[in-house]
Amino acid sequence: MTETPLLHVDQVHKTYTQGVLNKRVTFDLQADFTIEKPGIVGVMGPNGSGKTTLFELITGSNNPTSGQVRVCGQDIHQVRSDQRDRLAIHYHQSYQVRHFRKRRPNFMLQPSSTDYPKVHLFDEPQFNTQDGYIGFMLDFFRRLREESRLVVLCVHPNEPFHLRIMQEICESFIFVQKGRLTQAPDFNTLLQNPDVTAYLGELVGSQAA
């Protein structure tokens, strides 16, 4: 018997419509993928492509129009809402604190060596250049990974070194564009996608520098 996958996004559709009588689809996200094992997965995609919606669907805070999300075998939308963060947790951009030297967000102080949550979704953590901040975040991602968790890291790489960080730390990638997902098993495969190179613009080729 095979092990239960950490994350199974099973034919999930999320459709946003506008209008009451004449419903018009304004956005449609389709996702169908499985992540069997612990790892660090990089997510990239233009603004408004559906990355945050995808994260919300995985943590159960947003309901799919159809399909199912299973985290460690459990249908996240059937789990009591106050228990969902034991399975999957979404760190919004705003978890970053300005006075980093003085104070760290609570979750960073908590020892992470508990059994939960298994899936950690980081939504655009800002790789600011404050002393040691980037290194601290990378160590945090790696520690979660070593503890057999799944880290999903959504970043807009805006500097060559951001792209190098993603290349170095992520074991696989998901590119989201207009509500559709493309998986790439590694960085080189990711860069072969013309949509990815268009998204990165002038950054392509600069990461070697």
């Binding site: 995609g45 233009p46 603004n47 951009q93 655009e124 800002q126 600011n128 250049t129 404050q130 002393d131 040691g132 901040y133 980037i134 807009h156 790489p157 805006n158 500097e159 060559p160 070194f161 268009a198 998204y199 990165l200 613009g201 002038e202 950054l203």
Partner: protein, 95 residues
Amino acid sequence: MQMVSISRALLGSPGLVLMDEPSQGLAPKIVQDVMKTVSRLKSEGIAVLLVEQNAQSALAVSDRAYVMDHGKVVHQGPAAELLEDAPMRERLLGV
């Protein structure tokens, strides 16, 4: 959204535009467009004071650079100098 804010700021034909992290949360291609807009403003005679976390992108379009830390300017000089001086950039900006 940032592009809309920039256009709106330009409606009154200002001589100086202040930009507070215009690249925040934007995809790389869009950030590159924003930085090109900054260069265009400069070429049209508009002064730009740009606050940025993306030091390399910002330095690349700037003439002068000021590094701030805990409310103080700890470095000032030509942007190109900071961009090209890797050890100084590392010390002041961590990148």
